[in-house]
């Protein structure tokens, strides 16, 4: 590591290599196999336009560091939001109490990993003119209101942040990163005298503000949210029961995230609490399915130069032609399981312990023409937009809620239906994928994943997919199926 380069925390908090070595030594003062310190300085903005007014504007700064000591399978963690030497030392000594052995030899010297640059912005959005951000929201508001006279309520919001981190570890890890993130969102309510509907659309990534000046501009999101809200006015009740389901490309990839992604996080498999435990090398999907987690895609919301343990992210094949290939791991799981560290150790903030998390998870494109996929369905639903999903990783049961879906009748997409919930079984659902489209799309950059109370930004994607059987939860009595009492 070159001392003459300016390091953010060295410059702003007077830290030096010697200090870091001292803190790590304190962390290992009661033994322990490994210790690391995660320094974070987070600056953020959030704005919202409601009733065509800028009603809410806020900015904030939070900074702190978290010290972790690992001893076998045990983790001690302490954090402080006061980055003074005394407090950092106190945190290090507190975390150290997890171990009870003679002090380890201390770390001397760090190795800085070669820098990567997946999101090289010159002006982070958080530092851009606030009036430019306000203008984005006002444009979204005007577009949505002009879209259709039945659009009655419009709320547009914008949030950005710049997270500067430094991670040092007793294994010599020294990783710095500056992670921009921005997102805008438009939500609309359409109303007539008798019915109402809502629509939401948004996007972003680890991008600069000019991202919203291109194709993904406020008008794009406003029109999309408005279109969805108007569509809901004519929606029928969703059917209930098992049926063929076609998923549209892009955000419906939340299916993969819930159905297989969480179940393949290494911590659950190390503890054998996942429905996928012990299935490596086994068939868990139809041979048309290849699923990857890829943290290295430029500008994407789920991407990272290094994960929150300082390890470079990578592309990891989870399922290849239907066969389960690997797990997503962090330092702790890779060490205990004897696996490679896939760079998936992530955390919400300095106040949180890292754990294996997804980055951008998607299925590779297949051979089928999306129109042929629809045409092959006699009676089913076509789901193109989703709210969110949830999974119980122990039994693999997952659900996700369709915010835009249609009936498919005799190979034709027909009436829109109201929010249907889809429910299935993770280890099972991809074995029922019989057609995979040639139209892989990633989501627009709005995903946030929760696990153990920690939220992190992620991406998802799929091509058009046909699932031969999935349970749909609706309210309509289905004449053709005849399984209503």
């Amino acid at each position: 590591m070159t001392e003459n380069k300016k390091h953010f925390f060295f410059e702003h908090y007077g830290l030096s290599n010697q200090d870091l070595e001292k803190y790590l030594a304190a962390a290992l003062s009661a033994g322990g196999d490994y210790a690391d310190i995660y320094f974070e300085y987070l600056s953020s903005t959030s704005l919202s336009v409601d009733e065509s007014m800028v009603k809410s504007a806020s900015q904030g700064i939070s900074a702190g560091c978290g010290v972790r000591v690992v001893s076998g399978e045990r983790t001690g963690y302490a954090y402080t939001d006061d980055l003074t030497p005394a407090r950092i030392l106190h945190a290090a000594r507190t975390a150290a109490l997890i171990a009870s052995a003679p002090a380890k030899t201390t770390v001397t010297g760090f190795q800085q990993k070669p820098a990567r640059s997946l999101y090289p912005v010159t002006l982070p959005s958080v530092d851009a003119e606030i009036t430019a951000k306000v203008e984005l929201l006002m444009r979204a508001d005007r577009t949505a209101r002009a879209f259709d006279s039945r659009i009655k309520e419009v709320r547009a919001s914008y949030a950005d942040e710049l997270r500067t981190i430094l991670i040092v570890g007793s294994d010599g890890t020294f990783a710095e990163d500056s992670q921009p993130l921005a997102r805008m969102n438009v939500s609309c309510i359409a109303k007539t005298e008798t019915v109402s509907g809502r629509g939401t659309s948004g996007g972003g990534g680890r991008i600069a503000l000019d991202f919203f000046m291109g194709e993904k501009n406020p008008e794009h999101f406003a029109k999309e949210a408005s279109r969805q809200a108007i569509l809901q006015l004519d929606a029928r009740e969703a059917p209930a029961g098992d049926m063929e389901v076609v998923l549209g490309p892009g955000w419906p990839g939340v299916l993969l995230h819930e159905a297989v992604g969480h179940g393949l996080e290494a911590d659950f498999n190390r503890k054998k609490t996942s429905a996928f435990a012990g299935l490596i090398g086994k068939r868990v999907a139809s041979e048309k399915c290849t699923v990857v987690d890829n943290g290295t895609m430029p500008w994407r919301r789920g991407s990272l130069n290094v994960d929150d343990e300082g390890q470079p992210t990578q592309e990891t094949v989870l399922i290849e032609n239907g066969i389960l290939k690997g797990y997503l791991s962090d330092k702790l799981s890779s060490k205990l399981m004897g696996l490679a560290d896939t760079g998936n150790g992530r955390r919400e903030s300095y106040a949180h312990i890292p754990m294996p998390r997804m980055t951008n998870t998607y299925m590779l494109a297949g051979q089928d023409n999306p129109e042929d996929i629809i045409r092959s369905v006699k009676n089913g639903i076509y789901a193109v937009n989703f709210g969110g999903g949830q999974v119980d990783i122990t039994n693999g049961k997952f659900v996700f809620s369709a915010s835009e879906a249609y009936l498919i009748e005799n190979g034709q997409v027909t009436a829109p239906i109201k929010g249907a919930t889809l429910i299935g079984n993770g280890p099972d659902v991809l074995t029922r994928v019989s057609m995979v489209g040639n139209d892989l799309k990633l989501d627009e950059g709005v995903g946030t994943c929760g696990k153990d109370g920690q939220a992190v930004p992620v991406g998802v994607g799929i091509p058009t997919l046909k699932v031969d059987r999935l349970t749909v939860g609706g309210t309509a009595r289905r004449e053709t199926g005849g399984y209503m009492q």
Binding site: M53, S58, G60, N395, G473
Partner: protein, 459 residues
Amino acid sequence: MTTTLGTTQQATDLKSLATDVVRRAMQGGATAAECVAREGDEFSTVVRLGQVETLKEAGSRSVGVRVFFGQRAASTYSSDFSPAGIERMLKSALELAKITSEDPFSGIPEAGKLGSLPGDLDLYHEDVYSLAGAERIDYARRAEKAALDSDPRIKNSEGGSFDAATGRKVLANSHGFVGEYQRSYCSVSAVPIAQDDAGNMQRDYWYSVARSLAKLDPAEQVGKEAARRTLRRLGARKAKTAHVPVILDPMVATSMLEHIFEGVNGDSVYRGASFLAGKLGEQIAGGNITVIDDGTIVGGFGTSPFDGEGIPTRRTVVIENGILKSYLLNTYTAKKLGLETTANASRGLAGTPGIGPGNYFLQAGKKSPEQIIGDIKDGLYVTEFLGMGVNLVTGDYSRGASGQWIVNGELAYPVEEITVAGNLKDIFKNISEIGSDLEFRGSVASPTIRIDGLTVGGE
């Protein structure tokens, strides 16, 4: 762990800090200002398969300010309490307020409405940190062990845990209001995993939570209950698609109450984003339904002496015998709707105040859960919902569920991978039974309820 908690961050006098921030905001040209300052300590441990898995301990603090220039408002926050950090926070708030819109309804509450409930509300007990580190770990270990020892089919675990936390909050504003309170919290939980002969796993959990260690359920009791809930899920199958009566156990019935809360939340009401907007005085639920929000209950999980804007908390009847009596409001939404605030302002560090519950509950009925189940020939007892398929604009409701199938008044076998769907407008009118088992395990509570007329989606 032997470090002392609760002392590391107490050096700053939060009251002086908050009043100083307000004073300096006014000096900077603001016409009104409000400051929140918070500090807290937390401890948590997870013991898995008898071994400590994680120990976490820390203290943190933060400060936020909201400033007004006439009817324009903005807010900023910081975790940096240094003079430079506070100065930067104030400066950016005053700058930021210039870009927001004139909103005729914005502002802090009138001076005459501000205040704090008198007396001891029993929200703080130092005993949550009274145990030595080893005993805290032992609490978690005992909860897990009781679960593991319950039955040989419990073969794995996500652990037992013990958590404790205390927090102090100060609110000050430019009408001279300065309020402060402290709250404590502790909990013990267990998450066992059971496995059947075929190797299929099921997980469930149980917990106890209290403001005082003395009031926490014994760890063994928590572990045993977690095991019971987990074991009864083994062998779950799918159900047939059907239209049957559905019973929600108290843990999942609270979610229905939360939907009512979102429906009467002044923010969604004035925007017309609620299926309950414009329905004050109307019958929106069965005559058996009375829903109360009460932020004043001594020792309650949703109790505080004043709300996020400095208005004394109160008791509000939301629904009385099925008739919608009141929305839940803060100052802004009350002005928008031409009503009085119900003291439900909920203030984070940044942003405009939102609306949060006090102690919010459905009044208990007379029947025991067993009697309610006993009345049903063929139906579903839901113990878990999955997913978020609720549209509060239209009331459309569709969620994943698991639980037990009821045959001839008995819980006959576990079911999973099913959905429950309907519309909230009908659901509240179709709650045909309310249990006697109301118990607060958080700020929102419901007894067991029976709902008729839902669609269960399965095979």
